[in-house]
Amino acid sequence: MKLSEMIGNFRSDPIGTISQWQDKRFLWVFMAALSLFMVILAHSVFQIWLYMRPCEQCVYIRLAFFAMAFGGIVAAISPSNSGLKIVGYLFAIWGSFKGVLYSIKLNKIHHAAHSDDLFGVQGCSPEPTFPFHLPLDKWSPEWFKPTGDCGYDNPIIPDGAQLSSMQKAITDFYADGWYLWPPAHFMNMAQCTVITFGVILLALLVAAACWVVTLVRKRQAAAHVETSSYTGKLA
């Protein structure tokens, strides 16, 4: 489909068009890929390569992304299958909603940790409590065990580690912690994830609503056809 055609469809029937989009694989795969990308980036690049250790809220945020990735994969198996899609929506909406909450909490902690305004946040937990009491930190400590301090995400380089010049340059760049643009302390990790989760959550809710509206419309149209054929027979 051409872009101009897509825009044209969207303008003439936005609800129906969005409903059609969520019947296709692309957006589900995109969401799953984006979520996995975020977690792998956090784990493999920032945690392992750059020694930025995850905090308690950070490992919860990873779980939220995994839930969204799982939802996206399930729905992408066959997006026109309502059962799979409902499972996909449930996981993805749950994940992005929890993600927003975890990110807001992390942002508060980050603020308290980097200012003198200490009040209003909870302390640092010695061990994570995942939703449904999943022992994820026992199953996969490398991915889910918090090893960092709450509110701090700057690289901590172990004694004797031999850094490549690239690693040295990047860890120095992030010396004050993770920011979208570290020199200006612009947008911390929590602010970036809250936007990511928030946008995806909004998109999911809109897509789900359009899907439901379209289903209801179809049903009504079918009922209308049925009744008209019925009355037609009578006449």
Partner: protein
């Protein structure tokens, strides 16, 4: 005119009522009752902390030193170090227990634990600054970790090794083991009144508010 006065009086009464209720503390939001109370803790304020916890450092810089001198006279302040947090939590607990008893032997009261005389304070601050400000992680091992604290108070390793086998130290450490059940609830720092009521740190808005809550919980 009379009606107007009545309305005024009514609204004042309402404001007074609302103001009154806003000072009352509620279980679940301001504090929680411990499912497993700490025994023999009547008349105490216990602070559970860890050297490996940014908020403990912040509290010990800004809040606890101002809070402890203002505590009601019939409430004893007791620090409990949490050994399950941080790579060297166990060694930290041992050293802090030795130093706390040494402080007490030197005649320091619970109110003196935030003064310059306290060895516990000296070691604790040395760990806080090393861990949080200088990002020291003591990758060389427990000996390196202990050295930071021992150097801060001028104690030799031999003296420490001898002191940590004191039955009093062991008894104190055993008491501190209860920290874990407290820390599990909302993390550290954790403040417990009479061994029964844990203050919810996220509801604290000022030192005075915290004192009010502690006073109320004390008489419960």
């Amino acid at each position: 005119m009379f009606k107007f006065a009545k309305t005024i009086i009514k609204s004042f009464a309402l404001v007074a009522l609302l103001a009154g209720t806003s000072f009352a503390f509620t279980e679940g939001t301001d504090y929680v009752k411990l499912a497993k109370p700490i025994p023999n803790a009547q008349g105490t304020l216990i602070k559970v902390f860890s050297y490996d916890c940014p908020f403990c450092y912040k509290y010990d810089k800004k809040i606890t030193p101002n809070l402890v001198p203002k505590l009601p006279s019939d409430l004893k302040f007791r620090p409990f170090h949490l050994k399950t947090k941080g790579k060297y939590g166990v060694q930290g607990s041992e050293l802090f227990a030795v130093l706390l008893l040494k402080d007490q032997k030197a005649g320091l009261s619970d109110r003196d634990l935030y003064t310059e005389k306290s060895l516990l304070k000296k070691a604790k601050m040395a760990y806080y600054t090393a861990y949080h400000d200088k990002k020291e992680r003591w990758d060389a091992g427990p000996e390196a970790y202990l050295k930071t604290g021992l150097d801060a108070v001028g104690m030799s390793k031999a003296e420490f090794d001898k002191a940590k086998n004191d039955p009093k130290v062991k008894a104190l450490l055993k008491e501190w083991d209860q920290s874990y059940d407290v820390a599990k609830i909302q993390g550290v720092p954790g403040f417990v009144v009479n061994g029964k009521y844990l203050v919810m740190t996220k509801s604290i808005t000022s030192i005075d508010g915290m004192l009010k809550l502690i006073n109320e919980l004390k008489t419960k």
